[in-house]
Symmetry: C2
């Protein structure tokens, strides 16, 4: 197959904030946003500069045989020091990022990955696998000082679709392939992975697999787990290669052990993934509800039907107001259907009917920032707004505000109490800590017959100079509520380092024993993403 | 909740063959069946008797505190010596069953399971977890002599549905619940697990979970894996209890490590499982094809559509002739649709249209032994035939015939070559070994957008007195073909002991290392189902 890897863009990635530097809000925009949140700064914090970090020489040098894969360039190292959580952005703005890696390696093939792991194992160098760097849970940084040096292992030089099986609708894809590059390479075959996390532009297939990413579809095929036919994973104990199969009952699934392993068990280098035809039929509608609990019942009815909406996104009143979907205190349910096969209008009408049976009022049109509407222009508008959110978060961070999200999932019986408790307790904690009222909004991003995934947005005044530890305090309050309601610490943002304490309480202890033993067998020197999941 | 556990039936389970003794074919029926296969015996082998096995005293006695949970009754021990594969039946008929367990334990609750494991660990007694005993891969017997004694751990005294969440459509179910008892206890709530493996009557929820069972539906929700909200598993290192969640991205899934662990990592004691409403709308049709490869293309088109048929069972010409679905050399595709929600006739018509586009001819009616037809009577007839097959197999075994099945799965690109090779090579091997032509038929039981699960039936003359080793030879030929075509050694029959050599070649070596380490952590004395998966 010809090399169809997209060429590098001329745009510049931000080393400290989300995405492209040319898309960052201007100072004036930051000020305008900050004015909406009481207690924030009057002027934005300056954009941080790499040269102010005082990055020194690396503690190790690679051997000559690997030198061509490795750099000690300061800007590169700074850009690989952290992911892109609010707390990462704030730490960069305050001039105290996480530990800067000594080296950044960019292997070009699986052999390079294995050679780098061999060398790192011999020298006890910590290796932090790095895809698009969009982790919002501290998944791609190093904490502590148990290793003599730290190497960020950037997989993005392995960004090609290697094979496409059009008959069986599958492709063999290198792990470092970013979302847009993946879809660009699949498009000529008329196929799509149809996996669109919010980080799509800045995250890789390998990252999605290692973190069990969720796409933005509300039901059906949205979890990356379900798209996996087989994996190749380089571990210090050898390379794992599972067979390409549509299904198998041969023991516990090997792939499921590596899915969600967050770089702690091995480095995923490629996968065969299941593809789909591009949807040709789309229809959407918005339904408003006076009562949020009525809306929850409507969503449950739709999730328990056979309808399988692509979008079934419920915005609470605050979220609906913020996005412009409703200004009258209504909650808004955004419904969307897609199919490559057949018209979906009838399914949409049945879903709207279920919503009306629970007190919903059909809206005249879907707002662009709510969900895909009928026309392509509206879809593009919605998509742009969706992709723009993290940039706005960074603008608020520059104004000293707290602006962050977190997500969870729970069974239906727990959903109403859980949402009420998060709103109340996180809001109270922010008020107590800052003296200013905070906004805690909620939307359901994914729904299931047996439960839902609430996604919370917190907007609050910061604690000047100490925004990250304020956020840590609020997040600890949130984690406590989640634990009390037996709601998972993460639905699709992964565990990383930020969620580790909650994860340790959530996972069954015998499973922790098994995972620790597996880690010991595959990574005997403990060099792989230390501190993540185990170790 | 009141105890609604079904009362024991007055019917008698066969200790050596499938199911109920009163459903076994008569001697005359055996002779009639045997006459259809060249080279079989003229009279059936006698029904084996427990007293001829010369079962001695057990090598260990349970402590007084556990004595009420344990029996050393000979008939009970004989019935727990093996599963119900053809080779198990043949070994019983020839008077040389697998090793008879010393004890059969029937714990009544999780505490009992833990106490029994503690005792067995202290005394190095092997523990073989046992649900309905329907394993067809040697999953519930003990081989070797590394343990001082063997205890079969029968879970069927733990057969209750403990809680039902009608709002979230889920139930907490004890692992020893047999299929009919489970559905009986769910029926008053208007819900169903809708998981119907062929062994439904004689297999348990715990067995389905431990072996990653597949239901008889062709697409969609048919694998037990997808029904699991949470698991409780007693291991020698403690009890694992995962949270009840609709979805979670917190590390590798704990449940997925225990799903398919076949009793080697722990004893599953209960699970929260996802339920469904009972289907109200059904429609079905049969489509005949002159060419099998045309039929394969039709099935692929249907599997890659959004139609999601409940049944999409393709019978090759031999299988169609055997079941009476077609006598003219046609392959027959049986299509069925179900929904709790809405009429399915339109979906059926679209599927039939896809089949016709690939050369299919719609049949006048579905034969009772082919699949669910329109009427309830036909569905019942089909269901009876489906459930009767293992009884007929045992009748053929009594006539000295080889009569066994095996299943696999592969991606679409490999399906035609794989099926041709299995037919040719297993058929040749049987002819060479017995001097008589053999029948090797194939049907597709489960289909996926990216592949299918072929299910093979082998009918051949036996090797008198040595039927099991003949079958082992044929199965080794089959396993070799599967390996060469990268088709899994099992789609839903599990690994057990019979598939272990092929499984060891199939699974990635680093995963084997991880699994071995996990086993060592959870079962440090190696007492749990020794020889299965690892150890």
């Amino acid at each position: 197959m010809a090399d169809t890897t997209p060429q590098p863009t001329s745009r510049t990635r931000s080393w400290w904030g989300w995405g492209w530097t040319d898309a960052h809000p201007s100072d004036a925009e930051c000020v305008a946003m900050g004015a909406l949140i009481p207690g924030t700064l009057s002027r934005p914090l300056p954009v941080p500069r790499v040269r102010d970090l005082g990055i020194g020489s690396p503690a190790v040098e690679p051997p000559p045989s690997l030198a061509h894969l490795v750099t000690a360039d300061s800007a590169d190292r700074a850009a690989h020091a952290m992911g892109k959580a609010y707390r990462d952005v704030v730490r960069a703005l305050r001039g105290r990022p996480g530990r800067i890696p000594d080296l950044v390696a960019r292997p070009r093939d699986e052999r390079g990955v294995a050679d780098l792991l061999d060398w790192a194992g011999d020298r006890r160098v910590a290796v932090v696998p790095y895809g698009g760097g969009s982790s919002v849970t501290g998944g791609v940084e190093y904490r502590g000082d148990a290793h003599r040096a730290v190497m960020s292992l950037d997989l993005t030089a392995m960004g090609r679709v290697l094979e496409v099986d059009t008959e069986g609708r599958a492709a063999r894809v290198q792990a470092g392939t970013l979302g847009p590059g993946l879809e660009d390479q699949l498009r000529p075959h008329g196929l799509t992975l149809r996996h669109f996390p919010q980080s799509f532009e800045f995250s890789t297939l390998g990252g999605w697999l290692a973190t069990r990413a969720g796409g933005h579809y509300a039901t059906g095929r949205t979890h990356i787990d379900d798209f996996v036919q087989s994996l190749r994973v380089v571990t210090p104990a050898g390379t794992s290669s599972s067979w390409r199969l549509p299904a198998s009952g041969a023991g516990p699934s090997p792939d499921r052990l590596f899915l969600g392993s967050e770089g702690a068990l091995g480095v995923i280098t490629e996968a065969w993934v299941r593809l789909q035809e591009r949807p040709r039929h789309k229809a959407s509608a918005a339904v408003a509800f006076t009562g949020f609990h009525d809306a929850l019942r409507a969503v449950r009815a739709i999730a328990q039907s056979d309808l399988s909406p692509a979008n079934c996104r419920l915005l609470d009143a605050g979220e609906a107001a913020l996005s412009g979907a409703a200004q009258d205190g209504s909650a808004v349910l955004v419904l969307g259907f897609e199919s490559a096969d057949e018209p979906v209008t009838a399914r949409l009408e049945r879903a709207v009917g279920l919503a009306r049976a629970h007190g919903g009022r059909r809206g005249a049109a879907v707002r662009p920032d709510g969900a895909p509407a009928g026309g392509d222009a509206a879809v593009s508008a919605w998509r742009s707004a969706f992709l723009r959110m993290p940039y706005l978060r960074d603008g608020l961070a520059r104004m000293g505000a707290v602006a962050e999200t977190f997500e969870t999932a729970a069974t239906w019986d727990r959903i109403p109490g859980l949402i009420d408790a998060v709103r109340a307790e996180v809001g109270d904690a922010a008020l107590k800590a800052t003296g200013h009222p905070a906004t805690v909004n909620c939307r359901l991003t994914h729904v299931y017959p047996d439960g839902a995934a609430p996604y919370f947005t917190v907007l609050a005044a910061g604690r000047p100079g100490d925004e990250d530890s304020l956020w840590d305090e609020l997040k600890a309050v949130a984690a406590e509520v989640l634990h009390r309601h037996r709601a998972t610490i993460t639905h699709h943002h992964a565990v990383g380092r930020d969620h580790r304490p909650a994860y340790d309480r959530q996972r069954p202890e015998p499973f922790a024993l098994a995972l620790r033993a597996a880690k010991g067998a595959l990574d005997p020197h403990g060099i792989l993403n230390p501190g993540v999941l185990v170790g």
